[in-house]
Symmetry: C2
Subunit: 114 residues, 2 copies
Amino acid sequence: MDTCQVVCVNQERVENAKKKMKCDKVLFDLAEIFKILGEPTRVKILHALSKEELCVCDIASLLNSKQSAISHQLRLLRAAKIVKFRKEGKMVYYSLDDEHIANLFDEGIRHVEE
Amino acid sequence: MDTCQVVCVNQERVENAKKKMKCDKVLFDLAEIFKILGEPTRVKILHALSKEELCVCDIASLLNSKQSAISHQLRLLRAAKIVKFRKEGKMVYYSLDDEHIANLFDEGIRHVEE
DNA sequence: TTAATATATGAACAAATATTCATATATTAA
DNA sequence: TTAATATATGAATATTTGTTCATATATTAA
């Protein structure tokens, strides 16, 4: 709620940066996406789905996790439109919603592996 | 700690995915990077730094935040080698450590804006 | 319909984390 | 040295969030 107390601000630099920056909404949404990707279980789920369409129990087995834990995470990913799903009888098969996430992963992996 | 209880697992799909996946360490590190990017204050800091080198008080002013809050966040970003800094007298100027983060941001913004 | 199975979800708990306040450190100027 | 200023950081607090357990819903088969 409070603002900056220091007095060494260079207004020119600040204004220049501010001028070039995306609006708050875009940056907030961007943080939201990264937050969703910033959790090991979800990263593994998404990375697996980038290789193969899988049902909930496949994922739980692959990650050695409880079914409910995976289901909760998939709910988040669905809400964020990061994964899509199709039902086939009792089973629900998940896959990535579009290429963007895979691209983000590739770029991130390049950063991590170098 | 427990493992999957369900019995509908398709081992072929699971094995195929597992075979193609990056190792746990890479995926964990990837989640770490995304986690760091997944916070509005840090996103704003990094986005600002992608446009202009700034000192701590510039950033605090730009974001209407307390100096100490910014300083704590910069510590995280430094530890993760996402930003670098140079000292000039009392001032400390921060900038992005390399292009990877800017690339991730660009890719993320494309996802968010579409 | 009833039983069995796959998935979803609410509530509770535990763990992680962002911010604030107070204060420490470092640098410059007087 | 002392005062002033920029930044860093420890401790405490409040909030968020991931997992678990129990249970609900949905679908198929008998």
